[in-house]
Amino acid sequence: MGERYFQHTFDNGLTLLAEKMPAMQSAAMSLMIPAGSSTDPVDRNGSATVLSDLILRGAGDRDSHALTDYLDSLGLQRASSVGIHHTRLGCAALAENVMTGLAAYADIIQRPQMPQSGFDAARDLALQALAGLDDDPRQKLLVKLREWHFPSPFGRNSMGKRQDLEKLTLDLCRTDFGRRYHAGSAILAVAGNVDFTSLQKQVQEYFGSWKTGTNDEVRIMPPPGAYHHEPQQSEQTHIGIAYPSITEDHPDYYVVRLAVEVLSGGMSGRLFTEVREKRALCYSVWAGYSSLKTQGSIMGYAGTSNDRAQATLDCLVGELHRLSDGITAEELKRAKTGLKAATIMQGESTSARAGALAHDYFIRGRIRTLDEIKNAVDSVTLDQVNAYLAGHRPGPFTVVIVGPKELRLPE
């Protein structure tokens, strides 16, 4: 794949991706393990989140203190999160320190100590985070919107359910770890000042004996409904709206991305212009493309005073519909410039590149180079976008409201 991008799949199924960025001193690593909230056991929603905490509480020969101290001594800036499809562990630092830290990450995902005290604390923290959601109506809205829009189990809240977390035990977690933490379909992406040959050798040494595995089929169920009001005594009403779109590997993907850019790209985007600048209905309003492996969606948000919430929802829906009438050549040009600039600037951050490589491989089974993205954006024509928009009117909508009052859905 040239001298910049590299890819190798090991016998156990783990795929290693790399982007060589010789001008950088740093490197970033992103490890995606097929243990996302959608593969939580049916009655133990939140298990992946507890596990993602528990595995960091000691691994291999190092107990919890020793492991954390070791990663800190390498200066690794770390992140871990649970998404719909994966649990993701990531870090960034000086390139040689990220390379040194790989062996410890191999311990974390293959040989975590999972002590009882660590489990008790991890579950307690998960319950606390869940309780905090009621104090954060904006985040609560986004959680509820996914829950009501995506088919189950993809709409699940990765933070879990109280009753499920309460009955979780260390033994159940250990069994779950054995089932879901495997190299089959796992992805390890590294971007920065690295040499692929030595990287590949190290990954072979540390992760080569990671057991392989396959994921169970998930049972897919339709979402609970298309409208939901979550009563909340809040200053603002938080409005979420979503409708289905194409997947990321669809030939029209860039057409849709550009249309969404017109809707909500910069400050000249239609939502910002119509809802905020002209009508001053809110401070925060946006829409974005959101992808599952098997389904794309457009999701939008607006937060506004309770007495102006109905007007805001009406305006938001009106703008989504107006997109079907087409966009102008100037709008498309701006959208292309914006997307291309963002793509090029992503090349300035090793963390952003590592994350993008892993995501691309998961969705498409291959890496997209920055040049490929630029060319694909350039090749989209106005006729293509407008034909697509005319043929794909937005909807059916899922609308979720977090706030004191119900709202009326526009016609």
Binding site: M24, Q25, S26, R57, S64, H65, T68, D69, D72, S73, G75, L76, Q77, R78, A92, A93, L94, D120, A121, A122, L125, Q128, A131, G132, D134, D135, D136, P137, R138, Q233, E235, Q236, G265, G266, M267, S268, G269, F272, T273, R276, E277, K278, A280, L281, C282, Y283, S284, G303, S305, R334, T337, G338, A341, A342, I344, M345, E348, S349, T350, S351
Partner: protein
């Protein structure tokens, strides 16, 4: 990756600071103005932030639609922010759009402040205030600043109270603009891939006619006193506790040691607060940080807990602040330094981050520090410098506030 620093002052007094990174893919430019909520008369509290919004509403030549459209035509990542002490406007673009970005930033900072735009934007500001009222952490932070700084102007909120925004007049804002926005009270910070001489020419062309201003900033001595207040909001689920105590200022050489100390005590992983409070789930979150201000500074902590555990968590946190003075060890200091060093390397690779850092530094110190100097100063920090710091600032007096369901 050799970064090269340049500084030049235009004939009208506008300072330009530049850090050139030939390997960068982009160019970043920011205008930093030394004005914020601490520089406002209390009757117009919130005007700095409201004015920041009004900059995007157009100049004599452009409407708000032009402003937004032109930035988007060049694919800029652009925004602005207001704090207690500064207001900044910036754009990050591909190098081919350097001139457009400079020209447009210059237009942004010569606003027309039209009455109709002012009236419309006032509603957006009131929505932003409402949005933050739904954020208990933000509400508590504002209360903490108000109590801790008492009569000092840092006690004023950045957004301002809704009442003061409702009463604000267009001409009051225009007067505030004229007094604060000009060379002598601002700096142009540019980073990334550029030809510096060309950037100076552009600055001269588009910003060279701006009149100088003679803004001054009050530096009263803050009168700190120990105090504690519990606030009740029955609809909340969790209790939020914050504390603040004096620390070194943004000009103080001890600020580097202060940053290391803050990470030793309260970084999100591996710190003393982590092991004493989060590892065992007494608190869901427990941070300890360092806020350097202009002329003074603060250490602060923030705890999020179940309401029934808040007193226990606060006691553990306070005990830990006493304990660290007795048994600070070399290893924890080295680990904190390593984490900060990584952050310095990562920040140096992204022009947008460096532009913000260099611009803010100039506002506080009228000086530039290279990444190498920052790294060397950081590496020279020892447990002894942290001990000295804790002798100088003994976490006393402390302001403590909490907010929860009662």
């Amino acid at each position: 990756m050799p970064l090269k620093f340049h500084h030049q002052t235009l004939s009208n007094g506008l300072d330009i600071v530049a850090e050139i990174n030939p390997d960068a893919h982009s160019f970043a430019a920011g205008l930093f103005v030394k004005t914020g909520s601490r520089d406002e008369e209390s009757s117009i509290n919130g005007v700095s932030h409201f004015l920041e919004h009004m900059m995007f509403k157009g100049s004599d030549r452009y409407t708000w639609e032009d402003v937004n459209r032109i930035f988007d035509e060049i694919g800029a990542r652009y925004n602005a922010f207001t704090s207690q002490e500064m207001t900044a406007y910036y754009a990050n673009v591909l190098p081919e759009f350097t001139e457009k970005a400079m020209e447009h930033l210059a237009h942004l900072l010569r606003p027309a402040i039209r009455q109709s735009d002012f009236d419309t934007e006032k509603k957006v500001i009131l929505e932003e205030i409402a949005m933050y009222l739904d954020d208990p952490g933000h509400r508590l932070y504002e209360k903490l600043m108000e109590l801790h700084f008492g009569n000092h102007p840092l006690s004023q909120s950045v957004l301002g109270p809704a009442e003061s925004i409702r009463n604000l007049k267009r001409d009051q804002m225009a007067g505030y603009f004229n007094g604060h926005y000009g060379p002598g009270n601002m700096v142009l910070s540019v980073t990334g891939c550029m030809d510096f001489d060309e950037v100076v020419k552009l600055a001269e062309r588009y910003m060279g006619s701006w009149p100088k201003v003679a803004a001054t900033r009050d530096q009263p001595l803050p009168l700190y006193k120990p105090q504690e207040q519990d606030l009740v909001d029955a609809k909340l689920n969790r209790r939020y506790t914050m504390g603040m105590t004096p620390g070194p200022s943004a000009q103080d050489e001890r600020r580097f040691a202060a940053r290391v100390l803050a990470d030793v005590i309260g970084d999100s992983e591996g710190s003393r607060f982590y092991w004493a409070l989060v590892d065992n789930a007494i608190a869901e979150d427990a941070d300890f940080g360092f806020y350097p201000h202009d002329g003074c500074g603060s250490f602060y902590f923030a705890l999020t807990t179940d309401p029934k555990r808040s007193k226990q968590a606060l006691k553990v946190a306070i005990d830990e602040l006493q304990r660290v003075r007795r048994d600070l060890n070399n290893d924890e200091v080295e680990r904190a330094k390593n984490k900060i060093a990584s952050g310095i390397v990562l920040q140096g690779e992204v022009p947008l981050g460096r532009m913000r850092s260099i611009g803010s530094q100039w506002i506080y110190n009228k000086g530039y520090r290279s990444l190498e100097e920052d790294m060397a100063t950081l590496l020279a920090v020892t447990p002894g410098s942290l001990q000295q710091l804790m002798d100088d600032f003994s976490f006393d007096p402390m302001t403590i506030v909490s907010l929860g369901p009662g």
